[in-house]
C-alpha cells in the first residue's frame, strides 16, 4: 500500500477510536489543597495524559476544613485520594464498600518535626516533648499508634490548626507534617531547618496517596478503573522525570498560596526520600502494592490496639488487579529517570 494511504487509514483509525472512546467525565477528590504530593495527577491533566486515555478528569481539592471522604460511598465522586491504609481498614470494618486500587506513594510522608538543638535529634526523645501539635485526623488514627507503640501521651497533645505560629514560637514543641512539605515552610517562615522524623522509618509502614474506588465501579467498569490508574501512573512518571511546568502552573492556579519554589523543593525531597518510586515500585512500576505488606501493616495496627485481630477482612481492603504491570517504566527510561 502506498505510504500516504497507510497514513490516511491510521489517521482514520485513530479518529474513529478516539470517537468511540468518547471522553468519559471522571471526578477525582483529593485530601488537601493542590500541592506537590498531588503532582502526578495534575500532570496527567495538564499534559493531556488523562485525555489520551479517554478521560475528562476534574480534580476536586480537599482542605483544612473540608472532608471529601463521604463523597465516594455517596456516589458523588468516582475516585478518592486517601492518605493511608487506616482509612481503608476503617471503611471495611464499617461496611463501606470502597476498595484501594493503587498506591502512588510507597512511603507515607507523615512525620514529626522539631526545632534543632533542643535534644530531639533522636526519635525516642520526641515522646518527652511538652507540646505536640497534632491535627484532628491524626489524633484519632496514627497518634493512637504512637501512644501504644512509642509511649506518647495525650496530656501533651494540642490541636494543630495548620498554622505554624505556635510551633515556631515554642522551641520545645513538636508538630506533625508531611516530610516533603512542612520542613520547607518552616525554613521559609522560621528561618531554620527543622529536625524531621519520618513515621515510616519507625514502623508506620503503610502505603500512602492511595486511589480508592467504589466496589461496584470496579465490578461494572473495570476498564474505566484501569485507564484511570494507568493514566495516573504515567502522570506521576512524567511529573517526576519530565517537564513539570504545566502541572505546577495548574496547581498554583488551584491553590494560589503555593509557590513554584516550594513545589520544586518538595519534588526534590520526594525523590531523595524515595516516597514515590522506591521498593516495589522500582520493579513493578509506580502504584505497586502487595498483599503481604498490607497484611503486615494491619498486624502492626492490631498490636497497637487500633483493631482487633480478624476484625477487618483484608481481601476487601485492596485489589491488586490494576497495578504491578510495570506501567510507565518505559516512559521513565526514556525520560532518563533513575
Amino acid at each position: 500500500m502506498p505510504a500516504i494511504r497507510i497514513a490516511a487509514l491510521a489517521m482514520l483509525a485513530t479518529v474513529t477510536l478516539g470517537a468511540a472512546q468518547a471522553q468519559e467525565k471522571v471526578t477525582f477528590a483529593t485530601n488537601w489543597k493542590a500541592e506537590a504530593a498531588h503532582g502526578g495527577f495534575y500532570q496527567a491533566v495538564a499534559d493531556g495524559t488523562y485525555r489520551k486515555y479517554g478521560l475528562d478528569v476534574t480534580i476536586l481539592q480537599g482542605g483544612p476544613q473540608v472532608n471529601n471522604r463521604p463523597l465516594l460511598p455517596a456516589g458523588r465522586v468516582d475516585f478518592l485520594l486517601a492518605g493511608n491504609l487506616l482509612h481503608s481498614f476503617d471503611n471495611v470494618r464499617n461496611g463501606v464498600p470502597t476498595v484501594v486500587v493503587a498506591a502512588m506513594f510507597q512511603k507515607d510522608p507523615q512525620a514529626l518535626i522539631a526545632h534543632p538543638g533542643q535534644g530531639y535529634e533522636k526519635f525516642a526523645a520526641l515522646r518527652n516533648a511538652p507540646l505536640a501539635f497534632i491535627a484532628k485526623d491524626g489524633q484519632f488514627t496514627w497518634w493512637q499508634w504512637l501512644k501504644v507503640v512509642h509511649g506518647f501521651r495525650d496530656e501533651v497533645l494540642k490541636p494543630y490548626n495548620y498554622n505554624l505560629g505556635p510551633f515556631l514560637a515554642n522551641p520545645k514543641a513538636i508538630q506533625q507534617g508531611y516530610s516533603i512539605a512542612e520542613p520547607i515552610y518552616v525554613e521559609n517562615q522560621g528561618k531554620f531547618k527543622p529536625v524531621v522524623h519520618l513515621l515510616a522509618d519507625h514502623g508506620f509502614s503503610t502505603y500512602s496517596t492511595l486511589i480508592e474506588a467504589r466496589a461496584d465501579t470496579i465490578k461494572a467498569r473495570p476498564d474505566l478503573v484501569q485507564r484511570f490508574v494507568d493514566a495516573s501512573i504515567v502522570g506521576w512518571v512524567n511529573y517526576l522525570y519530565g517537564n513539570r511546568k504545566a502541572a505546577n502552573a495548574l496547581m498554583i492556579r488551584e491553590n494560589p498560596e503555593m509557590t513554584e519554589a516550594e513545589i520544586e523543593a518538595s519534588v526534590a525531597l520526594m525523590k531523595s526520600q524515595g516516597i514515590v518510586d522506591s521498593g516495589e515500585a522500582l520493579t513493578n512500576g509506580i502504584g505497586a502494592m502487595s498483599a503481604s505488606r498490607i497484611k503486615d501493616f494491619y498486624g502492626q495496627m492490631v498490636k497497637a490496639g487500633l483493631y482487633k485481630s480478624g476484625e477487618v477482612d483484608l481481601s476487601k481492603v485492596a485489589t491488586l488487579q490494576f497495578v504491578n504491570k510495570r506501567v510507565g517504566m518505559d516512559a521513565k527510561a526514556r525520560l532518563g529517570g533513575k
Binding site: R69, P70, P73, A74, H87, D90, N91, R93, N94, G95, V96, I134, K136, D137, Q139, F140, T141, W143, D154, E155, L157, K158, P159, N161, P166
Partner: protein
C-alpha cells in the same frame, strides 16, 4: 395526662418514622443508621461513652457555675455604678459576639491545662445572658419598694439582700435557663476544636473520633447522649424556675 403524653408520643412516632425510612430506602448504616442500631451501639459502648459523658457534664456544669458566679458578681458591680457599666459593658458584648469557634483554638494553645481552656471557652459562651439579665433584674426593683426601704432606713446590704436580689431572681433564672443550654454548646464547641487533647475527653471528642473512623452509629450514639443532656438541662432549670417562682411570679403562675 394527655399534655404530658403528647411530646412522648410525638418522639416515638418520629423515631419509628426514621427506622422505617432507613429500612425501606435501604440506607447504609455508614450514611444514616437506624435508631435501633444506634440504641444497640449505645448499649454496647456504654461504659466508655459514659465516662466521656461524665467529663462533658463536668465541663458544662463547671462552666455554668462559674458563669453564675461571674455573671452575678459583675452584674452587682454594674448595678452599683453606671460608670463602670458604661466602661465595661462593651467588653462583655465583644466576648459574646466573637464566635467561640474562632477564639477556641487560640485559648487552647495559650492556656496550659486543656480542662481550664475548655472551661474558659464554655464560660465565655454562657456568662453573658446571666450578666445582662441580672443587671436588668437588679434595676427592676419596684421604685415604690425602693422608697419604702429608704424610708425604713435600710442599709445597703439589707437593700441588696432583701430587695434587689429577690427582685432580680426571675430575671436571673430566665438568664440561667438560656445559659444552661449555652454552656453545653460552648463545652461541645471547645472540645470539637480540642479533639483528643488532655487526659480526659468528652462526648464531642468521641463524636470526632467516630466520624474520622467512619463509625457512624457510634457517632449518633454519642450525639444522642448530648441531646439527652441538653433536654435534661432544659427540664431541670424549668423545674427550678417553677419551684422558686411558682407561688408568686406571673411567668410561672399560669
Amino acid at each position: 395526662m394527655s399534655s404530658r403524653l403528647l411530646p412522648v408520643l410525638t418522639m416515638v412516632a418520629l423515631l419509628l418514622g426514621w427506622e422505617a425510612l432507613v429500612r425501606f430506602a435501604h440506607i447504609p448504616p455508614y450514611t444514616l443508621p437506624a435508631p435501633s442500631l444506634v440504641a444497640q451501639t449505645l448499649w454496647q459502648n456504654f461504659p466508655s461513652l459514659a465516662s466521656s459523658w461524665w467529663f462533658t457534664l463536668k465541663i458544662t456544669f463547671g462552666a455554668l457555675a462559674l458563669a453564675c458566679a461571674g455573671g452575678v458578681t459583675i452584674a452587682a458591680v454594674f448595678a452599683l455604678s453606671r460608670r463602670v457599666e458604661a466602661a465595661f459593658f462593651p467588653v462583655a458584648v465583644l466576648l459574646q459576639v466573637t464566635p467561640i469557634v474562632a477564639i477556641a483554638p487560640l485559648i487552647l494553645i495559650y492556656v496550659e491545662s486543656t480542662t481550664a481552656a475548655l472551661l474558659l471557652c464554655a464560660w465565655i459562651v454562657a456568662f453573658f445572658p446571666i450578666l445582662s439579665n441580672t443587671v436588668l433584674g437588679l434595676r427592676a426593683a419596684d421604685p415604690n419598694l425602693r422608697d419604702l426601704f429608704h424610708l425604713y432606713g435600710a442599709t445597703p446590704w439589707q437593700r441588696l439582700r432583701l430587695l434587689l436580689l429577690p427582685s432580680a431572681l426571675p430575671y436571673f433564672l430566665a438568664g440561667l435557663k438560656i445559659s444552661g443550654g449555652l454552656s453545653l454548646i460552648g463545652a461541645v464547641t471547645a472540645e470539637m476544636v480540642a479533639g483528643a487533647a488532655g487526659r480526659e475527653t468528652g462526648l464531642a471528642s468521641r463524636i470526632l473520633e467516630a466520624s474520622f473512623r467512619t463509625e457512624t452509629p457510634k457517632m449518633f450514639a454519642a450525639l444522642a447522649l448530648l441531646v439527652v443532656t441538653g433536654v435534661l438541662i432544659f427540664w431541670v432549670f424549668n423545674a427550678l424556675s417553677r419551684r422558686l417562682l411558682g407561688r408568686w411570679h406571673p411567668s410561672e403562675r399560669a
